[in-house]
């Protein structure tokens, strides 16, 4: 049996399609512009807005959000903050992006990680908070986090946490195989060889290619592969720093010294617990994760400064982010007032620290109480002394791309292939650069021209 369509049937279905086309076109036509509110304001507006009260929506996935919102509502009973967990990192950005494109549905305040802030600020989706005098808060935050939320005189958010990189190592494993704590990358590679030779099931660390890690490592090596001035973008993933990191890390890849357990998988958590993964080069927010989720390894882990290339202490930021006010907000002054309380008021930051967060505020980074903490989990080591020292060693001048979310999404397609093939990371970086340049130019940026 075959389908024989009568010509009249075709004509009628064509008519129906035209009718639907008209409906769709009408829908397309009324697509609204992104919110136009959030024009001018001043510092005094914040108090007035808090006085007046109102309702705002706050998107966040951080565990401290609920307690912080409760404390805020207690302090300002007239303000009602509706807390929504719209998803973790990229899940949330997708929803935020969709809501911004649709012209409605975005929250007043949203959590955005540092690497994604340029993407949202460039598309003019975020309120410039300098109009509310936020520029004066500069000295309250560590230099690198402040740099991540600002562009020139414009302030697009306030930092909430930070992640200066350090080396977390499993002391039990190190002791068992007689490995010294490495201070340079050469020593680190030697330690990797020694460990893996002594026990082939154990690895110095696991890395299957992670864009956040790679960019931070390039940052530590002194690279500045991404530079953006408005829509003029320069990408150089073969600069001295990028190359330095790639050449260094190639040694671990070539030697098969990296575990292929993907980060954040359940195998990864297992590996952190049983010594399979002996070190982690990561941000200062890691202790909370270890204590909360790898209880079996209590007493095993210690913290040391991140290894260096030449013995001069230098670190980089890894992870972390802040909150921003979205332009769609109908009450930007109130949203800004909430944001200022959230990431600047000692009461809020206290709640944040209690939940295991690592601060971005200089007062807390330098407080004696914070520095004196000696968690049992880390064998009584004063880990915050090491971690906050790293915060001071972060080189300035680093920038993310105004399309970093996309860039990270194709990292596995490009640099990840070098990992998978045990190839040269420099080749992977070159391929990443090529695709990023194409994308940027295709999106109307002026890249490498």
């Amino acid at each position: 049996m075959t389908i024989k369509r009568s010509s009249s049937g075709i004509r009628r279905s064509a008519a129906a399609i035209v009718a639907v086309a008209a409906i769709s076109a009408a829908l397309v036509g009324c697509s609204a512009d992104a919110g136009s509110s959030g024009g001018s304001g001043s510092a005094s507006d914040l108090d007035a807005a808090l006085e007046k009260g109102g309702t705002i929506t706050y998107w966040s996935w951080t565990p401290s959000a609920e307690a912080q919102v409760a404390a805020f509502e207690k302090a300002y009973p007239k303000v009602d903050v509706k807390l929504v967990n719209a998803g973790t990192n990229t899940d949330e950005y997708t929803k935020l992006q969709n809501a911004i494109k649709a012209g409605s549905g975005a929250p007043d305040v949203a959590q955005i990680e540092y690497y994604a802030i340029p993407q949202f600020s460039l598309s003019e989706s975020l309120v410039d908070l300098s109009q509310y005098g936020f520029g004066d808060l500069k000295d309250d935050y560590s230099a690198s986090t402040w740099g991540s939320v600002t562009s020139g005189d414009k302030v697009f958010g306030l930092p909430q946490d930070s992640g200066p990189m350090s080396m977390f190592y499993n002391k039990t494993v190190f002791d068992q195989y007689g490995i010294e704590v490495p201070t340079t990358w050469d020593e680190y590679v030697a330690a990797a060889e020694k460990l893996h030779a002594a026990d082939p099931t154990k690895y110095i660390t696991s890395d299957t290619g992670d864009s956040g890690f790679a960019t931070s490592m390039i940052w530590q090596a002194g690279g500045q592969p991404f530079q953006a001035d408005g829509t003029n973008v320069t990408i150089d993933l073969a600069d001295a720093g990028s190359k330095k990191w790639a050449d260094n890390w190639n040694r671990l890849i070539d030697g098969g010294l990296l575990s292929d357990i993907p980060g954040w998988s359940d195998e990864w958590y297992k590996g952190l617990g049983d010594g399979t993964i002996a070190t982690l080069i990561t941000g200062a927010w890691m202790p909370g994760v270890l204590e909360g989720s790898v209880p079996d390894a209590s007493g095993d882990w210690r913290v040391a400064p991140i290894p260096t290339y030449d013995g001069t202490p230098v670190s980089a930021e890894n992870g972390g982010g802040g909150q921003a006010v979205i332009k769609q907000s109908k009450n930007p002054a109130l949203a800004a007032a909430f944001l200022k309380w959230l990431n600047n008021d000692p009461e809020s930051i206290k709640v944040f620290l209690e939940k295991g967060g690592f601060p971005a505020t200089t007062a807390d980074l330098e407080s004696d109480e914070f520095l004196a903490q000696a968690p049992e989990y880390f064998g009584g080591q004063k880990i915050n002394e090491v971690l906050t020292a790293a915060a001071k060693d972060v080189p300035s001048g680093w920038q993310y791309l105004p399309f970093q979310v996309y860039a990270n999404s194709i990292f596995g397609d490009t640099v990840g292939q070098s990992y998978a093939n045990k190839g040269n990371l420099n080749d992977g970086l070159a391929e990443w650069q090529k695709q990023l340049v194409d994308y940027g130019n295709g999106q109307g940026f002026t890249v490498n021209k």
């Binding site: 369509r5 049937g9 719209a86 809501a99 549905g105 990680e113 954040w264 359940d266 982010g321 939940k355």
Partner: protein, 294 residues
């Protein structure tokens, strides 16, 4: 009224059937393949979060924490799981129920009436479902957003009302199981088309309807991608999106893996589907035998 004599009665009425051990053993192999992953789920639902990371996956840990896990799943984050469960139920009852009704009525109409544009329906439906839904998510999202439907239950329910597969299935069933003579007889008696449909045809279609309902229930229950795009407020999440959000908690700064709750929640998510299957299966068989008895 003539009975549809071709509808077969239950299999045990066939005299020659003898039970075969070999066939049963072969099928048991199949069952093992099917059950190993599910076994993993059941076993691991009895473990605490730390034990998940420290014990062998296909055997029990030292503690039996199933009831603890269930209690935690139901109360975590102010009992959001229960809320998700209720949402899913709402989407299933309205969405799958509506989908079955629309597909049944339309499939019947396509099978039993010849009307202008009938063949175009087939082509249009097939053509439209061939376009990947994930890539249409943005256009759909923008349209629904203009209609003010995003972040409401309607954004989930309205698309769930369409089951192209159900439409085809009923189309096939209706053509086979409802003798046109029967409809003619009803028309001669002066019954209206819808009256005929609801009093006579729907009973003959029962096995088909139950199959479609079963598929629609499972499809709605497991609906993941659309709610992920359409909803931002967890208060409207169905179970699938909620569980995935719990799973995603294990990633990044301030990671809080709660795999034990994800696993226990998954187990609790599957149970109602099993119950629905068992219930619907009864109707399914009785529908068939009812046809043969008449």
């Amino acid at each position: 009224m003539s009975a549809p004599a071709y509808v077969r009665s239950r299999d045990n009425s066939r005299p020659r059937s003898r039970k075969s051990i070999a066939l049963t053993l072969l099928m048991l192999l199949f069952v093992v393949y099917t059950l190993v992953p599910l076994l993993w789920l059941v076993i691991n639902a009895t473990k605490t979060q730390p034990e998940l990371f420290s014990s062998f996956g296909l055997w029990f840990g030292s503690d039996f924490a199933l009831f603890d896990n269930i209690a935690q799943t139901l109360t975590y984050n102010n009992g959001i799981f229960v809320r998700w469960f209720g949402n899913t139920l709402l989407y299933v009852v309205v969405g799958a129920g509506g989908a079955t009704l629309l597909a049944t009525v339309a499939g019947y109409g396509l099978a039993k009436f010849r009307f202008p544009g009938r063949r175009a329906v087939f082509a249009v439906v097939l053509g439209a479902i061939a376009i990947p839904g994930t890539a249409l998510a943005v256009p759909t999202f923008l349209m629904f957003s203009q209609l003010g439907l995003t972040n409401t239950p309607w954004a989930i329910i309205i698309p769930s009302l369409i089951s192209p597969f159900g439409l085809y299935l009923i189309w096939v069933y209706a053509a086979e199981s409802i003798p046109t003579e029967l409809l003619e007889a009803a028309r001669i008696d002066g019954a209206g088309e819808f009256r005929t449909f609801f009093t006579i045809s729907i009973r003959l279609l029962a096995p088909g309807i139950v199959t479609v309902l079963l598929f629609a229930v499972v499809a709605t229950w497991n609906n993941y991608f659309l709610p992920l795009i359409m909803l931002s407020d967890p208060a409207w999440f169905p179970l699938t999106v909620g569980l995935n959000q719990w799973n995603a908690q294990a990633t990044g700064v301030a990671a809080q893996p709660i795999y034990n709750l994800v696993i226990t929640g998954s187990l609790l998510t599957i149970l109602p589907i099993v119950a629905a299957f068992l219930v619907l299966q009864r109707f399914w068989q009785s529908g068939l035998s009812a046809g043969s008895v008449k």
